[in-house]
């Protein structure tokens, strides 16, 4: 067992995590006196335990040849409807499963179970509820799914544009759903989320005729934070624009199974 507290070298290449010049494995902690105290060099990533658990998940998903998508957004952007429509159109061509996180209720899981896909609901409702799904929670939730039978596992994360961006769960790709009833400047307000994602969905475009919403500006803001990221403008409700998003998912699964 590797020491879960040490920074694995493999984590150093992650974008902007820095510290690539340090070598915590090579030297014992240095001590030096500083104004009556002893300073012990530690140099450890605080989230190393989560990152190691995420790496374990990633190995498991690779062994089982399951493509895993981490779907994130603010509350009310239409993640669950998008997922319902996505499952309806990808199945049975692809065998799908879902892990859905909410602070409370099984409402989303009940809706998604109607697709016939295996669904595991994670509730974080103790004392107000945690704000993200951590890697160890995904590991436990995935143990309730027969991964041998699954091509695509979609994790619907807790509705939150802040915390889930910080927690690797072992996924192959991340997607963020933004809807046209939110501000065009959301990507600028939550840059980390839009940096860490591999694709963005701009949902509810069927409402554009009724709104003063500048969709090109929203897309430009996404690209200001993450140049060249694919943006799928769609309406999960009407089905308009769904196909490029579905093709993107199919491509990821193909790549994983190749």
């Amino acid at each position: 067992m590797p020491d879960p507290l040490l920074i694995p070298r493999s984590l150093f290449h992650k974008e902007g995590h820095g510290s690539s010049h340090t070598h915590p494995h090579d030297d014992p902690p240095l001590e030096r006196r500083a104004s009556g105290t002893r300073e012990i060099q530690v140099v450890r990533k605080v989230l190393a335990a989560n990152d190691i658990m995420a790496a374990n998940n990633r190995r498991l998903f690779a062994d089982k040849r399951v493509c895993v998508i981490n779907l994130m957004s603010s509350p009310g952007s239409g993640k669950t409807t998008t997922l319902e429509k996505t499952l309806a159109r990808l199945m049975p061509e692809l065998s799908c499963a879902v892990i859905v996180g909410d602070i409370a209720t099984t409402n989303d899981a009940d809706r998604l179970a109607a697709s016939g896909a295996p669904v595991v609901q994670v509730n974080t409702d103790q004392f107000g509820g945690d704000c993200h799904l951590a890697a160890h929670v995904i590991e436990r939730a995935a143990s309730g799914i027969d991964l041998d039978q699954v091509d695509l596992l979609i994790v619907e994360n807790i509705g939150n544009l802040v915390c889930p961006a910080e927690f690797d769960i072992g996924e192959d790709a991340r997607a963020v759903v933004l809807s046209v009833t939110e501000g065009e400047d959301k990507p600028l307000k939550y840059p980390l989320m839009f940096r860490v994602c591999d694709a963005a969905l701009l949902n509810k475009i069927d409402l554009l005729p009724y709104l003063d919403y500048d969709a090109p500006l929203a897309v430009a803001n996404i690209h200001q934070v993450h140049p060249d990221m694919p943006v799928f403008e769609l309406s999960a409700r009407t089905g308009e624009g769904m196909e490029p998003w579905l093709d993107w998912l199919r491509g990821l699964v193909r790549k994983k199974l190749a």
């Binding site: 510290s19 300073e39 140099v43």
Partner: protein, 165 residues
């Protein structure tokens, strides 16, 4: 509630309660089924989980021959692009540190800027706002050099014993 009625191929969703009783370091995930148990370490903010990890790492970092020495300061580096609010983290740290060698310790947070290198032209710069395109060549293929850190750099121990040989 019978949500399976009248639907084809529908099964009730398994429910997993993700109770954050522990920080997941070296222990089984604290996920359980059924009614939640009361535990004062349940966390509503992810800063709480992060604070718990900090305390755990700091306690484990005290060398054996200095066990029992109180920790006076924890030096932390937090990148400005990390999803951590320093004030929330300090608050959570004070709560979590109670009853450990870190009780009353100062959490010293050094915020690090977001810096990037353009893969196209090699320009290196500090990103001040939410614009991730190169100011020199306007392209967007960049490597972030810093800004995502959430690292403990060191801990400082108060000397408990008289200086001797």
């Amino acid at each position: 509630m019978d949500h399976t009625a009248g639907r084809r191929q529908t099964r009730p969703a398994a429910v997993v309660r993700a109770a954050y009783r522990d920080s997941g370091v070296g222990t089984a995930p604290s996920v359980h089924r059924g009614p939640g148990r009361t535990d004062t370490r349940y966390a509503a903010m992810h800063e709480m989980g992060i604070a718990m990890q900090i305390v755990e790492i700091a306690v484990a970092s005290v060398p054996a021959h200095l066990k029992g020495s109180p920790v006076e300061r924890v030096n932390l580096q937090v990148g400005k692009l990390s999803a951590v609010v320093p004030d929330s983290l300090r608050f959570c740290f004070d709560v979590v540190a109670k009853g450990t060698p870190l009780e009353g310790a100062d959490l010293n947070i050094e915020e690090l800027p977001v810096t990037a290198r353009c893969r196209a032209c090699g320009h290196v710069w500090t990103i001040d706002g939410p614009a991730f395109t190169c100011p020199e060549c306007a392209r967007g293929d960049l490597e972030l050099l810093s800004g995502r850190e959430l690292d403990i750099r060191s801990i400082e121990l108060r000397e408990n014993r008289t200086p001797d040989a």
